[in-house]
């Protein structure tokens, strides 16, 4: 059976989502997409220059790849909503990743404002993917608001520190009805594999790919790691196995004695 998952009205078979930021040259974007097979790519609307003709970053993204515009730069829900509307009016589709950040030091998301924007944009017919601080108490609220998936951070954007929020993300995966897409902080393929083994629906990787010396090969490496992690998850692999035989049974030995 094909391992497909759905967000909004789109189906995905590749569980690596990518980004357009930080590349040495925009020409790497289509090459990376081809090498990785990534089917969704996020782009900051603030970097899209519709007046730039062929140099418009969107012209580097093949038509078969789903565009996920993001609201990078928004400090509150009102700004995020306006950015989303500009993106849709400009023909970027109905998908939107909400990023509301008012902390320029660590770029931590503001869940409260993100939730407000989610509520508004879902009502306006957007397919909303909120970028959030992992927080169990918010999961139900995002579900109720109609989010299409939830994107908790593994660690700070661009930090390459891996999944430092692992315990909470495990809880989100367990508790949420929505796909959990681990976003931010994934710096190495092994960390992407780790997220997938945990049961994440997908991961989004930008910095680690775009700032690699060879972003095309890096994209492929992440894609393979995501596939491996996903397969391991589906194989329902056993956890740590104890050494098995124990010489005596101080706790359960009495069971035999009763016979």
């Amino acid at each position: 059976m094909k391992d497909v998952f759905k967000i909004g009205n789109k189906e995905f078979t590749n569980r690596l989502f990518t980004g357009t930021g930080k590349f040495a040259s925009k020409k790497f974007i289509p090459l990376m997409l081809e090498a990785s097979g990534s089917e969704m790519i996020t782009v900051a609307l603030r970097r899209v220059d519709f007046s730039a003709g062929d140099e418009n970053i969107l012209s580097y993204i093949p038509k078969n790849v789903v565009l996920l515009p993001n609201t990078s730069g928004a400090r509150n829900s009102a700004e995020a909503v306006r950015i989303a509307n500009i993106a849709r009016e400009a023909g970027c589709g109905d998908f939107i990743k909400i990023e509301v950040i008012n902390d320029s030091r660590y770029l931590m998301p503001d869940n409260m404002e993100t939730l407000k924007a989610t509520e508004i944009l879902v009502k306006d017919g957007f397919t909303v993917l909120p970028y959030v601080m992992p927080d169990v108490s918010f999961i139900k609220r995002f579900e109720d608001a109609g989010a299409a998936a939830i994107m908790p951070l593994g660690s700070a954007i661009g930090s390459n520190r891996g999944i430092r929020t692992k315990e909470i993300i495990s809880m989100l995966i367990e508790l949420s009805r929505l796909p959990i897409i681990v976003d931010a902080g994934i710096g190495r393929p092994s960390q992407a594999a780790e997220a997938m083994e945990m049961g994440a629906a997908a991961v989004l990787v930008n910095t680690a790919i775009s700032s690699a010396e060879d972003p095309v090969t890096a994209g492929k490496a992440f894609s393979l790691a995501v596939q491996a992690g996903r397969m391991a998850y589906l194989a329902d692999m056993r956890g740590e196995i104890t050494s098995g035989a124990v010489a005596s049974s101080p706790l359960t030995g009495f069971l035999g004695e009763r016979k």
Binding site: G21, S25, K26, R46, R47, I86, S104, S210
Partner: protein
């Protein structure tokens, strides 16, 4: 609470004594840390740390790649007016200087904007001298409205104002504010700003903070190197950025390191900032504040600018003119001599050769 409290705290600080005690191990430890405290920062600004400039640059490059990627934001200045009522002894616009004074009319601003737009630049910085009678906030507001039609982002480098005037200009579409303190040393400040509104040290010191309060999204600060002792200036500018960054976390802080070129008004710098110092200071800023923006103007030579791009610069001006009306026609006297006269396509070509993506637009109107 104002940054002035910090200025007072360090007023009698014995920098030389601190620097004499800095050991190689302290420098190495500061370079290795993830989060530097202000003592680490000052350690990296010490003469001793100059011996470690390569490892500092390596770390600075790594952090810049990590947080900003392989991209460089481009901006271009537009001088609206060179009328000035200040007597700053180092500046080409000094009110005592006999130069051609000119203020662009709104029609002329539009002509300039069209000429600049052709270069593809999208982030514009407008500048004026300090002559509130000529260049009123209302005039700047009209200017901003015109510029907003042509450019994705409009910021300004003008005389300090009250919060209400800043809010007014913010409402007219100005996103960013640049205010250079010139010197953090209060005594020196008084000696080089002889008359005019600018002679008020404290009012200028607090203006970046008033800008943050008014809601500007980019705030760009820095001393003008050459007026007072350079290491203490670099240190206090870093503390100023850190103070604003902590207090106004939603504002994107930027640091510039303008240094006096001797051609200006015949002023002889009191403290020479060498190229080595320049590199040491920007790398110290990057290590101290990994996400702070670092701007580089055309005051510096092409060769030097290109090298700095490899280390930790994030914003770069291109195709600049510093005379009033200079894009559409031959303008008036320039504020400072441009050292890098390359055109926008030449800069773009150079960036691409270095494996850096020039970013023209990094802003959206709702911000």
């Amino acid at each position: 609470m104002s940054f002035y409290d910090t200025i007072k705290e360090f007023k009698d600080f014995d920098y030389d004594a601190f620097f004499r005690r800095v050991s190689d191990d302290q420098v190495k430890s500061a370079i290795a840390k993830d989060r530097l405290n202000i003592k680490d920062f000052l350690t990296l600004l010490s003469p001793r740390a100059a011996d470690f400039i390569e490892p500092m640059a390596q770390k600075a490059r790594k952090l810049t790649k990590q947080y900003f990627g392989n991209v460089i934001g481009l901006y271009i200045p537009i001088y609206l007016s060179n009328y000035c009522t200040n007597e700053c002894i180092y500046c080409g616009f000094n009110c005592k200087n006999k130069i051609n004074r000119r203020k662009l009319s709104l029609e002329e601003i539009e002509i300039e904007a069209k000429a600049i737009k052709k270069t593809g630049m999208q982030h514009i910085l407008f500048l004026t001298g300090e002559a509130p009678g000529y260049t009123t906030p209302e005039y700047m507001g009209e200017a901003a409205k015109i510029l907003e039609k042509y450019f994705a982002s409009v910021s300004m480098e003008v005389y300090p104002m009250d919060v209400d005037d800043y809010k007014f200009l913010r409402s007219k579409g100005v996103d960013g504010l640049t205010v250079y303190q010139e010197t953090y040393n209060e005594d020196t400040y008084k000696k080089v700003h002889l008359s005019g509104r600018k002679a008020n040290y404290l009012y200028r010191l607090d203006s970046p903070e008033r800008g943050c309060m008014a809601g500007f999204r980019y705030v760009n600060i820095g001393p003008l190197y050459g007026l007072a002792e350079k290491r203490s200036e670099a240190f206090l500018a870093g503390l100023h950025a850190d103070y604003l960054d902590r207090k106004y976390p939603d504002v994107e802080l930027n640091i510039s390191l303008p240094r006096i070129n001797e051609a200006e008004g015949g002023y002889k710098p009191a403290s020479i900032m060498t190229d080595e110092d320049y590199v040491q200071f920007i790398t110290a800023y990057r290590l101290f504040m990994p996400r702070v923006g670092i701007n580089l103007s055309t005051r510096e030579t092409p060769e030097f600018r290109d090298h700095l791009l490899d280390i930790c610069v994030t914003r770069f001006s291109a195709g600049s003119r510093t005379d009033v009306g200079g894009y559409a026609e031959e303008g008036s006297t320039a504020q400072f001599e441009i050292s890098d006269a390359r055109t926008v396509p030449e800069i773009v070509h150079m960036l691409e050769k270095k494996g850096l993506q020039p970013v023209f637009k990094d802003w959206e109107q709702p911000f």
